[in-house]
């Protein structure tokens, strides 16, 4: 009998072919190993992407647990925590002075870094000739952004706090933070300015606008959402910075500062000081402080995301 299944299929024509199972038709192609590799790699990169999320979740869980224990076992009142100054006695200690100090730090840092940073970005993108010096500056901006924050603290300690002798005042702290975030602001502002299409610039020049009119009326309004987003993210980084503030000696101050020349202790330094105390009560005060700090930080990031989404289709 020469009636092999093959010849029968051919004889039956199309209907038989349709009925053929896929596994039979492609029986000579073995893809199991390849599919296994696909799945293994997918698992690997999924784990990598979840790593950060899980780490953040665990961190939050730990902090929130301590926060809860602090509120219940140590009977920390949130109202008192948010309205009282620091104190050597844990049951009377609050975060108010540190919050005010951090808000003032942020405001001063924003003023000091925003105008200089955006100004530098405008110069580098719109005016600077494309020569060695410009390229050197641009290359070094990313290096500056990578300098450890404690180095900026050291610089301000040597130059301002001890050098001029102003002491560990709020202004010195904001100078350190402003230096720290300036490269970030410059780079993000440069990107935002570069994203403004040249056609729009040409339209302005061709209408008889000067360079500054073009920048002021057309380029900056288009780039501003991007610049603001970058600035907020940079300030959100600054608000959590501890090392430069420790370096200039902004620690062990319990009173609320009233101006830029007062001594201060910001939120992160206050948390640091509490966490270093032997008393469990202080340690749980630190946990509550961390929750407050994180809340402010995440709100700032949320504002940045909102701004970016709101304006990203505008240009």
């Amino acid at each position: 009998m020469s009636d092999s299944p093959d010849s029968k299929r051919r004889a039956d024509g199309g209907t038989a072919t349709e009925r053929t199972r896929g596994e039979e038709l492609f029986a000579d192609i073995d893809l199991r190993r390849e599919h296994l590799k696909n799945r293994a790699f997918l698992g690997l990169i999924f784990a990598a992407s979840m790593f950060g999320v899980v780490a953040l979740a665990l961190l939050l869980l730990d902090v929130v647990t301590d926060f809860y224990v602090g509120l219940t076992e140590f009977e920390i009142s949130l109202v008192q925590f948010l309205t009282a100054d620091g104190s050597r006695r844990p049951e009377r200690a609050g975060f108010f002075g540190a919050i005010i100090a951090s808000v003032m730090l942020m405001a001063l840092t924003a003023v000091l870094s925003f105008f200089v940073g955006v100004g530098a970005a405008i110069y580098l993108e719109e005016y600077a000739p494309n020569n060695r010096i410009t390229r050197l500056i641009k290359a070094n901006l990313s290096n500056l952004a990578g300098v450890p924050s404690i180095v900026y603290g050291l610089l301000v300690l040597a130059a301002l706090v001890n050098g001029i002798g102003v002491g560990p005042i709020l202004l010195a702290g904001s100078v350190a933070l402003a230096l720290l975030v300036m490269p970030i602001i410059i780079v993000s502002a440069q990107e935002a300015i570069r994203a403004v299409p040249d056609g729009v610039r040409n339209g302005s020049y061709a209408t008889g606008a000067t360079k500054w009119q073009t920048i002021r009326q057309v380029v900056l309004p288009s780039a501003m959402p991007g610049i603001l987003t970058g600035t907020i993210l940079a300030l959100a980084r600054a608000i959590g910075e501890t090392a430069p503030l420790l370096m200039i000696g902004a620690l062990f101050v319990n009173r609320t500062p009233f101006g830029p020349f007062d001594r201060f202790s910001g939120m992160p330094t206050q948390i640091y000081a509490w966490a270093a105390e032997p008393s469990q009560h202080f340690i749980h005060l630190a946990a509550v402080g961390i929750v407050v700090l994180l809340t402010i930080l995440l709100s700032m990031n949320a504002v940045a995301v909102y701004l970016r989404n709101k304006y990203e289709t505008a240009v």
Binding site: N130, P197, G199, V200, N202, G203, S204, Y205, A206, T207, G208, A209, T210, Q213, Q217, V218, P221, S222, A314, V315
Partner: protein, 274 residues
């Protein structure tokens, strides 16, 4: 070369347009021995041309022949390009615009420009049109001037109820007319157009063409175009650039399209070359 009296391409060359201006042709712009270099590359070679007032002058030629370069010389937009160098004379009312005492910003307030790709600002329609007047410190009746410019650009009827919405929300053809309104709002003398319809669909393009016809009553229009039918339809004078940045023919549009002096121009116009 035997050239018949009929047009080389099928279009009615503007016979009705010759009577647009009763005055003798007054020259607004004149190039004499104009050379332009990009680095070591010569983009324009010894161009001589005289552009008459209140007429539409079309500049045609194959890609890379220097049409746009010439246009951008007139309002010194080439100053934006670092490697660009201009030799020779390009005079506006007899004054060489490349003299040291000519401020390109002032020049551009007299010579408006419309680009190939519509480029409205990310502002409201009103602010787009008012832009030129504002930067020039105009403090008269802004609403009236904006309306006048939008009417002049044949856009008023379509946008009069949405002056506060963004110029970017308009269609491509409307955006281009908005750019024309922006260019004419400060009332310049000359309007340069760099292939203003090439990014538009045919209906939008024909609206712009009608508009150019009207604009020539008040303004001197210089238009670069890839489209020879368009040049024949809308222009009074035609300049033909061929490869190498040379201006090979400049004459009345009817003459250029019906009976060009240069055989190469005839070949180009009939599509045998370029």
């Amino acid at each position: 070369m035997s050239t018949s009296e009929e047009s080389l391409i099928t279009t009615e060359v503007s016979s009705e347009r010759t009577g647009r201006s009763d005055r003798p042709d007054a020259t607004v712009l004149a190039a004499r021995d104009l050379d332009v270099y990009y680095g070591d590359d010569r983009a324009l070679a010894s161009v001589d041309v005289e552009i008459p007032e209140h007429k539409v002058t079309a500049i045609i030629g194959p890609s890379g022949c220097g049409k746009s370069t010439f246009l951008r010389c007139i309002n010194r937009m080439n100053d934006q390009i670092a490697v660009c160098r201009v030799d020779g004379d390009l005079s506006f009312h007899g004054k060489n615009v490349y003299d040291d005492d000519v401020d390109p910003v002032a020049l551009r307030r007299r010579v408006g420009m419309v680009f190939q790709k519509p480029n409205p600002f990310p502002k409201s329609i009103y602010d787009n049109v008012a832009y030129g007047l504002r930067i020039q410190g105009f403090d008269g009746d802004m609403d009236a001037r904006v309306e006048e410019a939008l009417r002049g650009a044949a856009l008023w009827g379509e946008v009069k109820d949405q002056l506060d919405s963004s110029g970017l929300d308009l269609s491509g053809g409307q955006q281009q007319r908005l750019c024309i309104a922006r260019a004419i709002a400060p009332d310049p003398e000359v309007i340069l157009m760099d292939e203003p319809t090439s990014a538009l669909d045919p209906v939008a393009a024909s609206k712009i063409e009608d508009l150019i016809d009207e604009l020539a009553e008040q303004y001197t229009v210089v238009i670069v175009t890839h489209n020879m039918q368009q040049a024949a339809r809308i222009s009074d004078k035609t300049a033909v650039f061929l490869t190498g940045g040379k201006l090979v023919e400049f004459d009345d549009t009817a003459k250029v399209f019906e009976n060009p002096d240069e055989p190469r121009v005839e070949e180009y116009i009939t599509g045998k070359f370029g």
